[in-house]
Symmetry: C2
Subunit: 411 residues, 2 copies
């Protein structure tokens, strides 16, 4: 008998039929002898509908009231699922954030969970009932409703699992697990049986939208075993777990692409201390996340500085940097004329195998794909290329590094 | 400067346009120097939509979860109105039941308010903001969400007004006040400037659906002046207030009709002590509200017993009574073959004027309307007649007792 947290996303509870399917799955898990806590998102489309209502009545919607408004989406889901479970014969009880005592800070719209008092959830479980907990929301010290930001229900589920010391947190989604690449781009992509937290973190940050990055951080911090799977079948999904010694045998776990970045270059920047800080401090203050930064070799005391920002923040970043560029005596600021893509390969095995980068460049150059920027971590290599080559790059890198394995250059 | 509670019903906040109109009215009241607390219902249609969702997933919806589900309707309203107010430049803050500390018992679906800790509402008001409080809902001692039953937002508003000692509770609705009769039935009906709590109580219980009866009871108990008016114009409505000496000068304040009752007759009942209790105890236990009861003069130790119940409870009442009838040796049970209507006249002046009943019978008999049952209180006479005569009865009674005044038989 295990204690299982199951998280169902918006499509999994998106209709009366889907809610009934979830009801049967939850009841079956309970009937198999497990204790079950369910964390639910709003029904698909509901959060957007509520945000549209907010926009219709306010040009600059107040963050506290937006959170109070959108939190109704999860409230509808948990009450409806509890209704369905009870009617099915399975005792259940819905719990809102203030009832489940999910405490957060008071940053509306992107609050962080500080603490979950597991007692109120576990008292429901001990009565033999399923606790149906609202995802995505919390309550601050002043009893105000807060929300965790998009995808926050994953984080809720993992935080609940950590608080109650669950044996597993099952994340039900509309894909059947984590794949070595997007199967729409490379049909030969395979579902991974297991992946480490660190690899999942890199993939989450690289645009593989299976799990929200904060939820993976939380899972790693509290060592919560996560099982990503589909609510549309009984198929096993992908386990996201603590690294073990066998995992390094797999060189590359995944190839991901991200088309949501844009490139900015500050031209002919005087190469002296403090200049980079002058450029990046205002951007950071505007909460724009700079991903990759490269600086060319200095030439007669001047250098070009290139970095990437989310596409949506490009205009804001450009207008900020133009003033700074003049101030520091740079020649000007340009954004990339053609769209860019970031393509990344991730794998624990890269730690102990030195030749992955060389093989990656070789494969890309064979296809005539020019690498504009490079960024690496211990278990990841990301390159920025022209967007039109993104799918091709994923295909050839997946073929060379995942399907054929990696033979040459292994240390 | 006054402290004003304004309650807006579902049609008053039923669309983005209506919410903006309410925003302007609230802001204007604030700008005129008053402190304002707003109590809001769910947007029109929303509660029914949520109840349909409950019915779609459960054959016997669990009452606790139904309350958690439907309470989202008011949450959407208060957050949306607060968003609109803040965007309009008027500081505001939405308060759910647990935030406004509206404590109730734990009877889901028809909870009663026990206490409102006015401090949390007044702390918002003292900051110069409008407190936007969710109507219809409360919280029990276990932090569960409860709802007050249909029309409960009126009760919420008056309870809040009593708790904060407001100068007035304005009830905004889609009619412009309390009329001497339904203007669709008798176009000559006039809007009343003032009416006493007791008269309003009688009218509320007689099917004039302007205010929920429990809210009038609360207003009377706490002496909250209530102003019933429309949100569609600035027109003055009807004040529901404590009785004063001038009010008895008006003989009849209103003529109301109610088509939602059905009549049950138990035939040839042995006329001995305890028989009535045997009949009415099971009905009361089933929460069926018996309105009028008449018993014919006993004839050779037997009598016919006739009473009315809400139409919706008729089948249940009949099947209960049939068993009892056999047990007590009655000849049988019948329901009225033709539909009935209850027509009532209400007025404080009836206390001191004895001839109203006589005039009423005279007017009805002139039209050939047979009176099947009669029930009176100090300030009310109700008669049960055939439903097809209901509108005619309202018209002739209104003409004789309201329009022409009452000349004959005055003591």
């Amino acid at each position: 008998m295990s204690l299982i947290v199951q998280k169902y996303g918006g499509t999994s509870v998106g209709s009366v039929e889907r809610i009934k399917a979830v009801t049967q799955r939850v009841a079956a898990t309970k009937a198999a002898g497990h204790d079950v806590i369910v964390v639910v998102s709003a029904m698909a489309g509901e959060t957007n509908r509520l945000l549209e209502l907010a926009s219709a009545v306010a040009q600059k919607p107040d963050p506290r009231e937006v959170d109070a408004l959108v939190a109704t989406g999860e409230q509808v889901s948990i009450a409806t699922l509890a209704l369905a479970l009870i009617d099915y014969g399975q005792p259940a009880r819905s719990l809102l954030a203030h009832q489940a005592r999910i405490s957060t800070d008071n940053i509306y719209g992107r609050a962080r969970i500080r603490n979950i008092d597991s007692e109120s959830i576990m008292s429901v479980v001990r009565q033999g009932a399923v606790a149906v907990v609202a995802g995505f929301q919390g309550v601050d010290d002043g009893f105000n409703i807060t929300t965790l930001g998009r995808g926050g229900s994953d984080t809720s589920a993992i935080a609940v699992a950590a608080a109650v010391k669950a044996d597993v947190c099952e994340i039900y989604t509309d894909v059947s697990g984590v794949y070595t690449a997007d199967p729409r781009v490379r049909p030969a992509a395979k579902k991974l049986d297991r992946i480490s937290y660190d690899e999942m973190l890199e993939l989450a940050s690289l645009g593989a939208k299976v799990l929200q990055i904060r939820s993976v951080e939380a899972a790693k911090r509290f060592a919560v075993p996560v099982h990503v799977r589909t609510s549309f079948s009984d198929e096993e999904g992908t386990w996201v777990v603590q690294e073990d010694s066998t995992m390094e045998n797999v060189l590359v776990s995944g190839v991901a692409m991200d088309l949501n970045e844009a490139k900015v270059t500050v031209l002919h920047v005087p190469d002296r201390p403090g200049v980079a800080a002058k450029i990046f401090t205002p951007i950071a203050k505007a909460h724009i996340v700079v991903d990759m930064i490269i600086q060319n070799a200095s030439e007669e005391g001047f250098t070009d500085l290139t970095f990437t920002v989310p596409k949506g923040d490009l205009d804001k970043a450009l207008s900020m940097i133009k003033g700074v560029a003049t101030e520091i005596g740079a020649a000007g600021v340009v954004s990339s004329e053609s769209p860019i893509a970031k393509v990344s390969v991730v794998g624990l095995g890269m730690r102990s195998h030195a030749g992955v980068a060389a093989r990656l460049f070789e494969v890309l150059s064979r296809e005539g794909i020019n690498v504009q920027m490079i960024s690496t971590s211990e278990i990841k290599i990301s390159v920025v290329i022209e967007a039109k080559y993104a799918e091709l790059a994923v295909r050839v890198l997946h073929q060379a590094l995942v399907e054929e394995g990696f033979e040459e250059g292994a240390t």
